[in-house]
Symmetry: C2
Subunit: 202 residues, 2 copies
């Protein structure tokens, strides 16, 4: 009965509590509502205490981004791993990516939507982890490795655009979401398997 109804540990416990509260705020109220003072008061410490465990607010957000990529990578690997043709596996991966974005828009925002200059650069080491999903896609492409990365990037950009505009509610509401997503995934993935410069109409 030492703590006064505040969840409040010390040391590593406090760090965890801060991270938990930050994640909660992020998920429930979005990135803009993420403030050091709010986190601190919810967790029962002062705002400056956060700086004992995170170099800056950005560093805290980086930690959340890491969490996000961990979950995303997990989902993607699972989706891609199962049996099926390359195209099928790619499509499952694409669906997993889109689902992640739509289910966790706040995570998606901090992972993909924050401009880097506002974000005091996400460290390159972690960046590489963020690219694992891209590489998973590249391996599935049915083109030479040199082009595989490009094709995979194209798929990623297409999926990202889909998720980003859906999250931002900038897609015409009259469109059926499910059909749109299915078709967008279909075309995006097909591109990865298309021959070099097939200009032909039928």
């Amino acid at each position: 009965m030492t703590d006064t109804s505040q969840q409040r540990g010390t040391g590593a416990d406090l760090k965890r509590a801060i991270l938990d509260e930050a994640r909660r705020t992020l998920v429930e109220q979005g990135y803009p509502a993420l403030s050091t003072r709010k986190i601190a008061s919810a967790v029962g410490c002062t705002a400056t205490s956060i700086y004992l465990y995170f170099k800056s607010k950005d560093a805290l957000v980086h930690a959340l981004i890491d969490e996000g990529f961990e979950e995303l990578n997990g989902r993607l690997e699972e989706a891609v791993a199962a049996e099926g043709t390359g195209l099928e596996r790619l499509q499952r991966g694409a669906r997993a990516f889109v689902d992640f974005g739509l289910e966790r828009p706040a995570y998606y925002e901090i992972m993909f939507l924050l401009r880097p200059e506002r974000m005091e650069r996400y460290p390159a080491e972690a960046y590489r982890r963020a690219r694992r999903s891209l590489e998973a896609f590249a391996e599935l492409a049915s083109v030479p490795a040199a082009e595989g990365l490009r094709r995979a990037t194209i798929v990623m950009t297409a999926l990202h655009g889909l998720v980003a505009l859906l999250i931002a509610q900038r897609v015409d509401a009259s469109l059926d979401r499910k059909t749109l997503i299915e078709e967008a995934i279909h075309f995006a993935c097909a591109a990865t398997f298309a021959p070099r410069s097939g200009d032909g109409a039928s």
Copy 2:
């Protein structure tokens, strides 16, 4: 010789000066650097004077967004208007869209990258104007009108994803930018002209 080396008009002139300075700051230093006090001091008035002409900072940004869409729409219409097949015209439009985003990343950011809940909703009337480009794309699609909007949306999302990730510098630096863009546009536009559910290989 009434003004003291500050560009400083009164009334509508001041409003224009504020808008000009806001645009300059946006273009040169990006959205995060856009602050009412900075604009005010650069333009030679107080921060609160901005509120005489704009309901809020968001309203000021809305005005810039309007400018952005005006330019974008102009470019798109020009690109799409000239002669050529539907596919060619669509591709020119797509290129124009991507070029706009890469040449004016700050404009692109406020137009497409700001989440709506952070943005006190861009008014619906202006929103419609923002959709003109989409409709221009839809008209070019070689599918029934009902599907045209969806196909156009898919192209838009693909292009948006491309621009967004390029701007955010989240595209592998080893890739040749020009080739990536060309190929992405190629595939995106091809989708609009593909038959219904062409699953076929070759």
